[in-house]
């Protein structure tokens, strides 16, 4: 992980990616955000921090995660597909890369209490896990609807010692859980650190989370080189909720414009069905969760409630880095419906013996339309495993 990055796709010193980003925070959060902005780089590139971080990623998370050549999947799509196995991380998804980083940061800031929001429950579990590890009290906000559809993750968080508080306002999903976490932070500004779960929120969160997740593409480069003799794939494909797994998978390829970046959003019942979470197709620029970015909203600026079968993609916006990648056309944005994602789950299970998370299945679902040729190398970021979605799979598939 290196501190200096000179890229037009990275954040500038004011916290913007092109026209997106910034820190549109109420005054109550100003001291916290200012402290983070001033200290985050210094803290995370400190030698001791890096040592502890790398050690935990290796021994506790189980990194590096394998880069696996999926031969039957490759045969099916007539191209060369490698799966980056983030599903094999401890706790079952990439989310833990970020929570390890942020808990180490929180400790160095002298914080004694942790809060988080969660959609699928993966970020909540990953936060509860590191709080147990570091012996810090943990409160996770989760939408009431998500508490129901991701019940096993609620139990896991509780088993890990976290308190799960339901968000009962609005659509009762991820955006509302995020609102509740922000309110908690406003009420507890001095002792509490808010571990945001994706590349969203006020600067420096998007950049900080992207840096913690960038280990994904760092490993891909090295592993691909070992396997094929070249560092860069032709395509990198990842699903986008807020955008953290995609940010991590894209990170070290942003400036190699020959690498085609494919971001996959959730189309729900269909992009124009009125029940969708395909932000780049349906959204406009505005300010949500303290960041100027793209999100779905009415003409007069009220946030539109999204829909996706996958709780982790059921968010009305995307982070500012991705908004800029879309705006500059650096990344190609596709979408997959609920049904397509469910079919992709079955496909990967039967062809490769891997049951993916519903979120990751959205990335698999577009493999037939990215335009990859026979000899192209496609790296697909398999962001998580499907254990948490078993109830949905039993209901919808089996």
């Amino acid at each position: 992980m290196s501190e200096n990055i000179n890229s037009k796709y990275q954040v500038n010193e004011k916290g913007y990616y092109g026209q997106f980003g910034g820190a549109y925070i109420p005054e109550m959060l100003h001291p916290n955000i200012e402290e983070l902005q001033q200290k985050y780089l210094e803290i995370i590139y400190d030698e001791n921090f890096q040592k502890e971080f790398q050690q935990l990623l290796k021994d506790y998370v189980g990194r590096p995660t394998p880069l696996y050549f999926a031969s039957r999947l490759s045969e099916k799509f007539q191209t060369q597909i490698y799966l980056k196995r983030e599903d094999l991380c401890h706790t079952g998804a990439h989310k833990v890369n970020n929570t390890i980083g942020q808990i180490l940061l929180a400790k160095r800031l002298g914080k004694t209490r942790i809060i988080a929001e969660t959609g699928a429950g993966q970020h909540g579990v990953a936060t509860a896990t590191v709080c147990a590890l570091m012996n810090l009290p943990c409160v996770v906000y989760m939408g009431e609807v998500d508490i129901q559809r991701q019940a096993p993750n609620v139990k896991r968080m509780q088993l890990l010692g976290a308190e799960v508080r339901p968000a009962t306002s609005g659509s009762k999903t991820l955006k509302d859980a995020t609102n509740e976490a922000m309110r908690d932070w406003i009420a507890n500004p001095t002792d509490t650190h808010y571990i945001i779960g994706s590349v969203v929120g006020p600067h420096p969160f998007p950049d900080m989370v992207a840096r913690f997740q960038s280990v994904i593409s760092e490993e891909i480069k090295q592993q691909l080189n070992e396997k094929t003799g070249k560092e860069n794939p032709d395509f990198v494909v990842a699903c986008v909720g807020g955008g953290s797994n995609a940010a991590g998978a894209f990170y070290h390829f942003l400036d190699d414009e020959k690498v085609q970046l494919v971001a996959v959003e959730a189309a729900g019942h269909g992009v124009h069905s009125g029940k969708s979470a395909a932000t780049t197709q349906l959204g406009r620029i505005g300010v949500l969760h303290s960041s100027k970015t793209l999100f779905m909203q009415t003409e007069d600026g009220q946030v539109v409630e999204p829909h996706s079968i996958s709780a982790g993609l059921d968010y009305p916006g995307i982070g500012p880095m991705h908004a800029n990648l879309f705006d500059t056309k650096r990344a190609h944005f596709l979408s997959a419906t609920d049904d397509e994602a469910l079919k992709a789950v079955q496909l990967l299970a039967k062809l490769e013996g891997i049951i993916p998370a519903l979120e990751s299945a959205h990335a698999i679902a577009v493999l037939d339309r990215i335009g990859a040729k026979q000899n192209d190398v496609v790296v697909l970021n398999l962001s998580g495993r499907g254990d948490k979605d078993l109830d949905t799979y039993i209901r919808e598939i089996i």
């Binding site: 004011k14 910034g22 820190a23 549109y24 925070i25 109420p26 005054e27 109550m28 100003h30 001291p31 916290n32 306002s169 609005g170 955006k175 509302d176 609102n179 922000m182 309110r183 406003i186 009420a187 507890n188 500004p189 001095t190 406009r284 505005g286 300010v287 949500l288 969760h289 303290s290 909203q297 003409e299 007069d300 600026g301 009220q302 946030v303």
Partner: protein, 258 residues
């Protein structure tokens, strides 16, 4: 023409009573009569809330009033239409308060233009930071003669408060505690220390305390340390499902002023 907020503080520097009320709540067209009853009963200034679906600095009561207002069809366009002739009836200062996104979608310049045309005196946008205000919007606010009102919280540094004082030209909104709106506790000793600290700074701008001011006792305490106070959540509760706005508003305000 001088600004009504500035005139108010020139004429009266103690016990200024301000209320906050979400436009479009409880019914779509209530704001004009709420303003009339407020003025008639001696309210000195009103913050008119512009509803937003995701009001992160507010508690459940104000969020509820926002949801009702949005469901009633309240938008900025509707609000400006309702307030078009408001200055024929109302002469107390009026401030629009709300989150940035609806204003941004309306177009900041359009918004300031239309607010000015209705006779609005100031604007409070809690999530528009000082940096963005200074670099992008300050000149526009000045062009349309609208005062931008900043918040100060117990966490705001002395240095920053001084900067806010320089940037302000109406009053400074002192947030009473580290909390979202609608807190239920009485004013604590630690809060009084914070109020004293601000008072001792002798700022150029008048100061008004808000958040958690809910009855006569909290209003009086706040007024010991500031030029006045703002009542939001308690007022929203008082008019929720009101069948007789005139009566409910009069009796709520009488209790504060008793």
């Amino acid at each position: 023409m001088s600004n009504r907020i500035k005139e108010l503080f020139q004429q009266k520097n103690k016990n200024i009573l301000s209320i906050f009320c979400t436009a479009g709540f409880p019914n779509k067209n209530d704001i004009v009569s709420i303003l009339e009853h407020a003025q008639k009963n001696g309210v000195d200034m009103v913050e008119i809330g512009m509803p937003f679906s995701d009001p992160t600095a507010d508690g459940p009561v104000i969020q509820y009033s926002n949801t009702i207002a949005i469901n009633n069809g309240m938008t900025l366009k509707v609000l400006f239409e309702q307030l078009k002739d408001i200055r024929q009836k109302i002469n107390i200062p009026l401030v629009l308060m709300g989150y940035f996104n609806p204003v941004y979608q309306y177009g900041v310049e359009n918004f300031l233009n239309d607010a000015n045309a209705c006779g609005i005196d100031g604007v409070i946008i809690p999530d528009l930071p000082m940096y963005e205000y200074e670099t992008m919007y300050q000149q526009m606010f000045e062009k349309y003669k609208l005062k931008n009102i900043f918040l100060v919280t117990p966490q705001t540094s002395t240095e920053r408060i001084k900067k806010i004082d320089v940037l302000s030209d109406a009053f400074i909104y002192i947030v009473s505690s580290n909390a979202i709106t609608g807190g239920n506790a009485d004013i604590q000793e630690s809060q009084e220390k914070y109020f004293q600290r601000i008072q001792a700074m002798q700022l150029n701008n008048p100061i008004v305390i808000g958040f958690g001011i809910k009855d006569k006792s909290t209003f009086d305490t706040a007024c010991n340390y500031a030029n006045g106070a703002i009542i939001g959540t308690a007022f929203i509760k008082a008019i929720d499902q009101s069948k007789d706005l005139e009566n409910d508003i009069a009796s709520f305000i009488k209790k504060i002023q008793a």
